[in-house]
């Protein structure tokens, strides 16, 4: 297993660590039992995400994906942000070791949850997000664990 330089950069120097007081939306994904929890805070103005911060308990990949996802969403409209996929997060980091792919799942999910949270609070219509129930995934890819 080896992380890309980009992953290591985001892990060693994570962007946007912290909480946003009075955030417009908060999304939490994972749980400590599984070894990762991600909490993502967004500030929304005119349907645009103007700020994002995170707190993460998790492995190197979990922290790096948290960090990059906060960078990726800033300036994006809510609809654009909603389309950020797990794959896109992993790709933005130059890829993740197969055994760590689930961490990119976590980041996108936390983001989607934060957006939904904002929409619910603001009585906006919500599209059901089917992917948001990932935890201790049965499909952990053990095959690749070297």
């Amino acid at each position: 297993m080896e992380y890309t330089d980009k992953v290591m950069d985001h892990f060693m120097n994570p962007r946007n660590v912290g909480e946003i007081q009075n955030a417009d939306g908060v999304g939490e994904q994972g749980n400590a039992k599984c070894g990762d929890i991600m909490k993502l805070y967004i500030k929304v103005e005119d349907d645009k995400i103007v700020d994002a911060k995170f707190k993460t308990f998790g492995c190197g990949a979990a922290i790096a994906t948290s960090s990059i996802v906060t960078e990726m969403v800033k300036g994006k409209s809510l609809d654009e942000a909603m389309t950020i996929s797990n794959k896109a997060v992993a790709e933005a980091l130059g890829g993740l070791p197969p055994v760590k792919m689930h961490c990119s799942l976590l980041a996108a999910d936390a983001l989607h949850k934060a957006i939904i949270d904002y929409k619910v609070k603001n009585n906006l219509p919500v599209d059901k997000c089917d992917e948001c129930d990932t935890c201790c995934h049965e499909d952990h890819i053990h095959e690749e664990e070297n």
């Binding site: 892990f11 060693m12 660590v17 070894g35 707190k55 993460t56 308990f57």
Partner: protein, 388 residues
């Protein structure tokens, strides 16, 4: 290695220069196959048999009782599967503990699928098997008990003699996985009630790819690798004689330096344990203190953060450590050993193992105690679980 600090000796150790020197002539010069009827074969046979004798002497065994395998894993597999298959007519029940190495546990699980029954004994909060539990678990159809000498993650040293005596009294065979303890703790098979014992050279500054299983005279065991007649027809495959020579040399050195080494390393260990618990709040030591702990093992849980992050930060500073067993570091589940001693998943995820070795110094320990608190502080600041 320059100024790197290696604290992962439980995963593997470097080959000592003396060991490599002993091995070198056996690659290019004395390279024969010991099964051959000529001088190239004979000189190698001599080296293999002399090595077997050295290893036997180090353990209080007879040369014939030492069988070479390719890894501690293979030795464990062989002891359990080989014994189970050779003795299944006497019963199909096996007892082990819940904190064994995966080489033992996964072999047992596979045997369960093949019709054997396995009891996994619990351990207490420090990782000890209770001899009373063993005694109660033994049934008329129990044929084998396999308990490790020292745990690779938390360093707990089991009461092998007491457990073995129970087995002997009940006429059940006793296998001991001594992969972590061989060369570190004294082992005298003349006195220990043990029927089989695994050891692996790369844990005591010998080469990788070579290990041994002690099989007490009279113990019936079937091969798991069939072929040529090596190892008295019980373990086929051309002898890896350079590695065998290295293993003997490494064990001999380890045994001769054992007392002195244990003393030095225990001091460093306790300095590290005390330092971490003192300097970093919300930490706990896993495994016991004192002489029932491997002299080179430190394992702490650091709350609110996940182990890999600590490892990565340490690694950036040139410090090599592990979070749980090296063999499971690629896995996502927290260590089965830490769960077995009662840690929650969350806390188990935040464990750090620092395993010391010959070349470690007080300065290195001090350096770790200097950087680790900062790393932890950093990661905790990022953690949604930490309310600073």
């Amino acid at each position: 290695m320059s100024d790197k600090i290696y604290l992962d000796h439980a995963a593997t150790t470097a080959v000592r220069q003396e060991v490599l020197d002993a091995m070198l002539p056996f690659f290019t010069e004395h390279f024969g196959n010991p099964m051959s009827v000529h001088s190239f074969g004979r000189e190698v046979t001599k080296a293999v048999e002399a090595s077997r004798e050295t290893i036997a002497n180090c353990l209080g065994a007879e040369p014939k009782e030492i069988m070479f395998t390719s890894s501690g894993t293979e030795a464990d597999n062989w002891a359990i599967r080989g014994f189970a298959q050779a003795n299944s007519k006497n019963g199909q029940h096996i007892i082990t503990s819940s904190i064994e190495h995966h080489a033992v546990l996964h072999t047992c699980e596979q045997l369960e699928k093949e019709g054997f029954e396995v009891t996994y004994l619990p351990v207490d909060s420090e990782g000890f098997v209770d001899p009373k539990n063993l005694e109660e678990a033994i049934r008329p159809d129990t044929i084998l008990v396999s308990i490790m000498h020292a745990n690779n993650e938390i360093g707990t040293i089991q009461p092998i003699e007491e457990l073995g005596t129970i087995c002997r009294d009940k006429k059940v065979a006793f296998h001991v996985d001594a992969v972590q303890s061989a060369g570190v703790l004294p082992i005298n098979l003349k006195e220990l009630p043990v029927d089989m014992l695994s050891l692996s050279a790369h844990k005591f500054y010998g080469p990788k790819g070579i290990a041994a299983l002690y099989v007490k005279k009279g113990t019936r065991i079937k091969p798991i690798i069939y072929g040529g007649g090596q190892e008295r027809g019980l373990r086929a495959g051309t002898h890896n004689h350079a590695a065998i020579v290295g293993m003997a040399k490494a064990l001999e050195l380890a045994i001769s330096e054992q007392e002195e080494y244990a003393k030095k390393i225990t001091d460093l260990r306790d300095m590290l344990i005390d330092g971490i618990l003192e300097k970093i709040p919300h930490t706990r030591l896993n495994g016991p203190r004192g002489d029932k702990r491997l002299p080179n093992n430190v394992n702490v849980s650091i709350q609110y953060i996940e182990g890999e992050g600590i490892l990565l930060h340490l690694d950036m500073l040139g410090i090599a450590a592990s979070s749980g067993s090296a063999c499971t570091s690629g896995s996502l589940d927290p260590s089965h050993v830490l769960l077995a001693i009662g840690l929650s998943h969350e806390i188990a995820h935040g464990s750090l193992r620092l395993s010391l070795g010959r070349e470690n110094t007080e300065e290195e320990i001090k350096r770790v105690l200097e950087v680790l608190p900062k790393i932890v502080k950093n990661l905790r600041a990022m953690s949604p679980l930490y309310q600073g």
